[in-house]
Symmetry: C2
Subunit: 434 residues, 2 copies
């Protein structure tokens, strides 16, 4: 490790150890860290957030089902027992690939021998960024508490609204995009309105809330088998969700959404239709696809830089079936493990030639509190059994006994009493409902 | 109830029922609601927040020990089974006492036959409002998450700071005011630094964090017996807290705090030194004390308005011992019960002449995770036994089995593993640490 660094030396790491910088403490970055345990390296993990986020359950924070602290962990605490790792709470602004340095927003830089970029993605509006204030997306804890506030405030405003048309617009919730996140949001908002909220209001009947799921493609859950898509759609409709297919949204405003010839009045829009990669490709000046995803080599290295790996939602690479590897947690984890194994082999002086091969374990989506669909490829599950597998799998993948207990209790209360524990409107008093 | 109201009629309430408006869903307001169960009245509860807050544990949110949803409940949900109650999420801007109307911020108004003002207090700076940005106080959930962010970010900045003097200022935490909140904050921050954080950092030794508790008066916990104050001070000092007594703070700035001839460099200041009542007295044009507290009649009515009651932190009244009734939850609850009983007696046509008599059950304060002091008057407890009573009492007073379970689990984890579940820096990325 060069000595002219501007950051303090990681404590406990000898300066002659191979130094790995990992940018991003999501699923991919953390999995690489775990797989590197015991290797003769020092590691600096940089993240602009102080916490790892369990994104697959973020929609449950947005719908008041879980608390923020149930799906987020301080990265420092997760890595506290690994003395070779330094955690840095900082924002990366670029990479000096020739000088082998990561550039930080405070003007300092961080040298590396090997770099792993695991910087994820944000939601994206395909050139319509002006839609964001009206149709916010869901990628961070703040996104989730903002959505939660908007959903709960819409019901509060409806309770006080006397004009029928304005009240109807306040009680219309539109989710744009019917991938797993869109489907899960639509199902949970419908249940919130049907099961949790009715006894609480006096002037409105929350059963009458409209939840509209709009998808540009021909079916919901396009990543699943056809019959599971059809089942998911029927299940959503039985929860009261209106499913609109084959309709790209052409406008999002403060008053609602436009698709085809339809203007739908709605005060709450949620964007679940697409993501854009973090600027890893820009940092490297390397080729990217339309969504900004870095086009990596088959061994997940950046073009021309065998010492730079990129993994997770910030890259695009083909799966063995020819389709792109999906942007889901298991894919990012597999890539993290693969990269860690390459680095360890290189340090042992062994050549690695096997390209990364993605193995798809399955696709899961929850539809409301008692149903789910699971596509394992040959085996397809749906209904209550699928829901149990979905629930157990998600609790299993949470980190730590405490959060597993806590999430299990939260779900128990939703099932047994229809109580959602986190119906808090924060960051804004009643003035927001004017 | 007059028919010219501008708010929709509460569903389920006949227009000829006696209509009570309660402003504020804190301990006093909710207790009045509970005590009015079964009375021939309709009730509108107005709050500018959608949640009731268990303020006695707010310091545990600020110190990452509890999640926001563990100490807050949607008011609507608490009152869902009482069909005679309408909950209104709105901000009150005044009272038209002659016209018997509560004025709301959207220009509408709410008629009442009887009004209960239970609007609480905010922290106050005794004419030094310019100190607030540097020394925030602790009254709302947002105050708590803001303090949590400041405390956690200070350690993060210290980890990256190479200048020893600036690093020392980042690792100095000053709490101004040694009442129960100040003592509890100081003890918990000291434990956070001593027990929870040390293994997580590489460049700083969080044991070296300074926690300084500054009090203008001659002792900590002035509301407790002398020997308990002395015990609390010794206990704090054994946790590493520096206790400074008899020193009014004369300046709070971005660089630290000034008291006497001392300029103490500190990047994190917390204000726990005083409160100011909500503007209930201003709304009524009625006399108030120096802290803005409405001076109520012995039956808690406002001067000249037997149909207006005021309770809790927004009023001042003498206890039987001649001292003012303290601003604590049990006092607000007793006042809420007393007022509800008067209203019920009036509706039965019975005269009520007995003035409100405050009965002090005891004072409790936690000092770190294993010690507490309890002053029951004749019986005084301290140490571990007092901590168990403190803990059980607080879990008992939480609302609902779910939150009791959840808080018990959170505390178990703090005790057994020194893990604090809510170490989340939200509402600001790493850019806040520049």
């Amino acid at each position: 490790m060069p000595m002219e660094q501007t950051q303090p030396l990681p404590a406990g790491s000898a300066p002659d150890l191979h130094h790995i910088v990992i940018v991003g403490g999501g699923f991919g970055g953390l999995e690489a860290v775990h797989r590197l345990a015991g290797a003769p390296v020092s590691i600096t993990l940089v993240d602009r957030r102080n916490h790892h986020l369990f994104q697959p359950l973020l929609y449950q924070v947005a719908t008041a089902s879980l608390a923020t602290s149930e799906i987020a962990w301080p990265i420092r605490q997760l890595l506290r027992d690994r003395s070779e790792i330094t955690t840095l709470f900082a924002t990366v602004t670029g990479v000096d690939a020739d000088g082998r340095r990561v550039l930080l927003e405070d003007g300092s830089s961080l040298p590396y021998d090997t770099l792993i970029l695991a910087t994820g993605a944000r939601h994206a509006y395909f050139g319509n960024d002006e839609w964001e204030p009206f149709a916010p997306g869901l990628k961070t804890l703040e996104d989730a508490t903002t959505l939660r506030r908007r959903i709960l405030v819409a019901f509060e405003r409806a309770e006080r609204e006397t004009d029928p048309q304005r009240r109807a617009a306040l009680m219309t919730f539109v989710i744009i995009g019917a991938g797993p996140t869109g489907v899960e949001l639509a199902g949970t908002i419908a249940e919130l309105a049907r099961d949790t909220l009715p006894p609480d209001f006096r002037n409105i009947d929350t059963h009458k809330a409209r939840v509209v799921l709009i998808e540009a493609g021909p079916r919901v859950l396009a990543g699943f088998a056809d019959d599971l898509s059809a089942y998911a759609q029927r299940s959503l409709e039985s929860l009261g969700v209106e499913v609109v297919l084959g309709q790209p949204v052409t406008a999002c405003t403060a008053d609602g959404v436009v698709y085809g010839n339809t203007q739908l009045d709605a005060k709450t829009l949620i964007w679940a239709a697409g993501v854009r990669a973090s600027p890893a490709a820009e940092w490297l000046g390397a080729p990217a696809d339309r969504a900004g995803r870095l086009m990596v080599n088959p061994d997940l290295t950046a073009p021309g830089h065998p010492e730079i790996f990129a993994i997770g939602d910030t890259v695009t690479i083909a799966a063995p079936d020819g389709h792109p590897v999906p942007g889901i947690a298991p894919a990012a984890k597999q890539e993290g493990r693969y990269v860690a194994d390459i680095i360890k082999a290189r340090l042992r002086g062994e050549p690695v030639t096997a390209p990364f091969r993605y193995a798809h374990a399955g696709s899961l989506a929850q539809i409301g509190k008692r149903l789910a669909v699971i596509d394992f490829g040959r085996i397809k599950l749906r209904g209550t059994l699928a829901w149990w597998i979905w629930g157990i799998a998600h609790i299993y993948f949470l980190i730590g006994l405490r959060n597993r207990l806590s999430v299990a209790i939260s779900w128990l209360w939703i099932h047994a009493r229809n109580q959602r524990s986190s119906r808090l409107i924060t960051q804004g008093s009643s003035k927001v409902i004017r």
